[in-house]
């Protein structure tokens, strides 16, 4: 820096004006961004749930039966008088401020379409209050137990749904044979040989598994009759899940009774799903959902019932009871219910020409199947490329220069418009390699290429952030490069790699342009039968509905689709974040 010449006045005053202005400018920037996003989301939610048609009495009923008891539960679990007072003040004061403020804006400035002060209160006051009490309560034993249980219930069901959806495109009879003759014997061989320490367990198990696979594919050609899908799921998924849950409880030193209890309830959950079934979902998927939900819950309960704060386990009952009570009040008093778009029927039925019957089911299934394939493909390719570039490729000489060139190109590829990837997919996968126009395989490959630069770059960052000391330490112990990569670099870098992949997947699930280019269908009426079938994805269907002449489509049905997409995205990100945090903790 140059020496100030004008310093004869000693330590003068430095103007803080610029600093203050900058601070407020950045505050303004973030407020504008957040406000725009919040307004958009509020409108989408209001449209999707038809809240603008909700009567104040309906809102009040559910507020009293559902929201107030929930906040009460959280406050009880926190049991801090000062905090309770603060929350009460926020709820009460917020009521007055929103009502007065909203009315003032409506009468003095502009009318706000589609919103009432009750809805504004719900989103601007009640939602933040619920979020903050939830956050604080989750750090108390009582709240943690309750949220843990609700999380297991919801998470187990969501996972079950996801697996059930994957099985739509899998040849179930073949899977039944492969499991019975390949997976099961291979697992048995592995367990037996590794316990007795004979030979090389992995190789032996793989051999048995491959042999079983060969036998199954042959048998599949011959056999004509198989158990129904529900039974296949019960045998190939619910039984191993029960065994796994029992093993987990044994590992955690559960009593024999607890182990047996977990196993039996899991089977019962699966069996219950089998018996109950559902006309909307594909046959037998109740088994997967039931078993997954019950297994997750039972394993958790075995530990949680003995812990401090076990009264928190009543939270699901409180929520269910509140919902039932609300429904009962609405029914008996005869309060008109709002015209909701996002309903269970919406998620389980096919698109329709009539807004009231329109559903997103085939598109949801298509999106989930594609994103599952993209996740596997892009993770494998991305991590592989990143590890090679960082750990193996030389960084000097001709090879080094080539590596740097590739690096620059990867970074630039991330900025190529998605339509271009669509063209690439159309030319390469659909035409040249003959994977078919608009098939799930073509779409998954195209989207994987689209997000590959992002996954490679973030995986490289993760590999690079592993301290060199660790590598050197590993080499000093006499480890080979492969052992170092496998035991040191990959485990250290895994959370970072997962984060990058999650973010990239979020982009892939919302992409429309490449799907249009590869000829993905706008509308299909049934879920894809296999990965070589043509499919539709959520953004495609939403885009088509946005162009329908009827206003019900453009507002209600589209909004419900957007919220569904957001929920799937959140569920996906949530799962990945949980896995990542687990890995970080274990390490």
């Amino acid at each position: 820096m140059a020496v100030e010449t004008d310093t004869d006045t000693g330590f003068g005053e430095v103007s803080r004006l610029r600093g203050t202005v900058f601070e407020y400018l950045s505050l303004g920037a973030s407020v504008v961004g957040l406000f725009a996003l919040a307004a958009l989301l509020i409108y989408v939610f209001v449209d999707a749930f038809g809240l603008s048609t909700a009567s104040p009495a309906w809102l009040l009923t559910y507020f009293l039966t559902l929201v107030v008891p929930y906040i009460g539960f959280c406050l009880y679990s926190i049991s801090d008088r000062a905090f309770t007072r603060k929350i009460a003040l926020a709820l009460g004061g917020g009521l007055v401020v929103t009502a007065v403020g909203f009315t003032a804006i409506e009468t003095l400035l502009v009318s706000i379409p589609g919103l009432t002060w009750q809805i504004a209160y719900l989103f601007l006051v009640a939602t933040p209050v619920v979020a903050s009490v939830t956050f604080v309560a989750s750090r108390q034993p009582l709240g943690a137990a309750g949220f843990g249980l609700v999380g297991r219930l919801v998470g187990g069901a969501a996972l079950g749904c996801a697996v059930a959806i994957m099985f739509i495109v899998i040849d179930r009879p073949l899977w039944f044979l492969v499991y019975t003759f390949g997976v099961l014997p291979a697992g048995g061989v592995y367990a037996y040989t590794s316990r007795r320490e004979i030979g090389w367990p992995t190789a032996q198990a793989t051999l048995v598994g491959l042999f079983g696979l060969g036998v199954s594919t042959q048998l599949r050609q011959i056999l004509g009759i198989y158990p129904s899908d529900g039974l296949i799921y019960l045998w190939t998924l619910a039984v191993p899940l029960a065994a796994g849950a029992a093993a987990l409880v044994t590992l955690r030193d559960g009593s024999r009774r607890a182990v047996a209890g977990v196993a039996v309830t899991t089977l019962l959950g699966g069996g219950g799903g089998f018996v109950l079934g559902s006309s909307a979902l594909p046959t037998g998927s109740g088994v997967i959902i039931g078993a997954a939900t019950v297994a997750a819950t039972a394993v958790y309960l075995v530990e949680a019932v003995d812990n401090e704060g076990r009264r928190g386990l009543l939270l699901p009952l409180l929520i269910a009871g509140g919902a039932l009570a609300g429904a009962a009040v609405v029914q008996t008093v005869g309060i008109p219910t709002p015209e909701m778009w996002l309903t269970p029927a919406y998620l389980t039925s096919a698109p329709s020409n009539e807004a009231a019957n329109a559903g997103l089911y085939p598109a949801v299934v298509g999106s989930i199947i594609i994103i599952a394939m993209v996740a596997v493909l892009s993770f494998v390719l991305g991590v592989g490329a990143a590890v090679f570039l960082e750990e193996y490729a030389a960084d000097t000489g001709l090879v080094g220069r080539l590596t740097r060139l590739i690096q620059i190109n990867i970074a630039n590829l991330a900025a190529v418009p998605s339509v271009v990837y669509g063209l690439l997919g159309l030319g390469l996968f659909a035409n040249l390699l003959g994977f078919g126009f608009g098939t799930a395989v073509t779409a998954a490959l195209t989207l994987s290429l689209l997000i590959l630069p992002i996954t490679v770059i973030s995986a490289q960052e993760a590999v690079r952030s592993v301290p060199d000391d660790l590598r050197q330490g590993s080499y000093a112990m006499g480890a080979t490069r492969w052992q170092t990569v496998k035991n040191v670099v990959l485990p250290e870098a895994m959370p970072g790699m997962l984060t990058g992949t999650i973010l990239a997947l979020g982009r892939a699930i919302g992409e429309t342009a490449p799907l249009i280019m590869i000829g993905a269908a706008t509308t299909v009426f049934s879920a894809p039968a296999g990965i070589w079938s043509r499919f539709s994805a959520m953004p495609m269907q939403i885009y088509a509905w946005a162009n329908y002449p009827q206003a019900e489509f453009r507002y209600g049905v589209v909004a419900a689709g957007v919220v569904t997409l957001l929920i799937v995205l959140l569920a996906m990100n949530g799962t990945a974040i949980i896995i990542r945090n687990r890995m970080e903790r274990e390490h």
Binding site: A260, G271, T523, V524, F525, G530, S533
Partner: protein, 324 residues
């Protein structure tokens, strides 16, 4: 749970196991499936976004009765559907809001794709203006051409001296759209289409643009206006016999000229050799005079009894040809 019970826990467990076993046996006895999943019966459709709502309404009804058939429909625009999918043999049907063009016929011929032209419905291409616009509610075809031709008028006043001296803001169909081609062919002819306009495949973008600007003009299919009559005002078109407003009646009687147009779907002859595709094609043609679906639900003009019969004859000939 079980672990908290002490006295009769053993009995509970045994009962539970027994009931699971019983359930399993019962299920095993009753629940089998045949492993031979039949060949997937897929029908691939692409093409015009104008015909898309009609095709998907009919396909929806067909799928409800024939759950084994899986129909997928892409809204790609007439031209996009022909050149990218239909004429390279990827789709079984292509919807179009205009007739197939010579270059597309050539492309189809190169790839050995034969097709048959089926009229699906009649549309009344609707020119719309802002609800506050009270001067241009009636227009001659010549005035319309002056607004949309390649060397388009700048202001409303340039077109008609009684109209205000305000700039014209145009919202129209993109050049991949059959609506665009039809508009050129029947209104503009040699004079070409202006490129000084907001081009889109999305009707609601056009409507929103016109709704928000007093001196805007736009055009799109009749269905959009039919379902949103409050949003914008349709222009009555004068083709020399006095101004005629677009409506189901004026379009089907032929009074609304030159903007009432036929909508098409083109089944590929090779596809019709599959019985399930032929069956769907017959069902489609059979529904083209269904007032409820075509007019009420979608907003197009249904075919008359005779036109439908003509189309059916054409289709039957093609099916016979294909299945030969």
């Amino acid at each position: 749970m079980v672990s908290t019970q002490t006295g009769d826990g053993r009995v509970t467990r045994r009962t539970a196991l027994a009931s699971v076993a019983g359930l399993g046996t019962m299920a095993l006895a009753g629940c089998t499936q045949s492993g031979s999943g039949g060949e997937e019966q897929a029908i691939n459709i692409a093409g015009s976004s104008t015909v898309f709502p009609l095709m998907s309404a009919i396909a929806e009804d067909y799928e409800a009765d024939n759950p084994d058939v899986s129909i997928d429909i892409s809204s790609t625009g007439s031209g996009g559907g022909f050149s990218n999918f239909f004429c390279v043999g990827e789709t079984d049907f292509n919807n179009a809001s205009r007739e197939i063009q010579p270059e597309e016929e050539e492309l189809c011929a190169e790839n050995g794709v034969e097709f048959v032209e089926i009229v699906a419905a009649t549309d009344a291409l609707t020119v719309v203006i802002n609800n506050d616009n009270d001067f241009a509610t009636e227009m001659t075809v010549e005035e319309l051409a002056q607004i949309w031709e390649a060397d388009a008028a700048e202001t409303w006043n340039d077109v008609n001296s009684e109209w205000p001296d305000e700039e014209i803001n145009r919202f129209g169909a993109a050049d991949t759209s059959g609506t665009y081609d039809y508009f050129i062919e029947n209104v503009l002819g040699e004079r070409g289409h202006t490129d000084d306009y907001s081009a889109t495949e999305q009707d609601n973008t056009i409507a929103a643009g016109v709704e928000g600007d007093e001196f805007a003009i736009g055009y799109f299919g009749f269905a959009y206006w039919y379902q949103n009559q409050e949003q914008v005002t349709p222009v009555a078109i004068d083709n020399g016999n006095g101004p005629v407003e677009p409506s189901l009646d004026t379009a089907s009687s032929g009074e609304y000229q030159p903007l009432s147009r036929p909508l098409f779907t083109y089944p590929a002859v090779a596809s019709l050799s599959e019985e399930y595709i032929a069956d769907f094609a017959r069902y489609f043609v059979d529904q083209t005079d269904n007032e409820q679906i075509v007019a009420e639900d979608v907003g197009y003009v249904p075919l008359t009894e005779e036109t439908k019969q003509e189309q059916m004859d054409k289709l039957e000939a093609a099916i016979e040809d294909a299945q030969g």
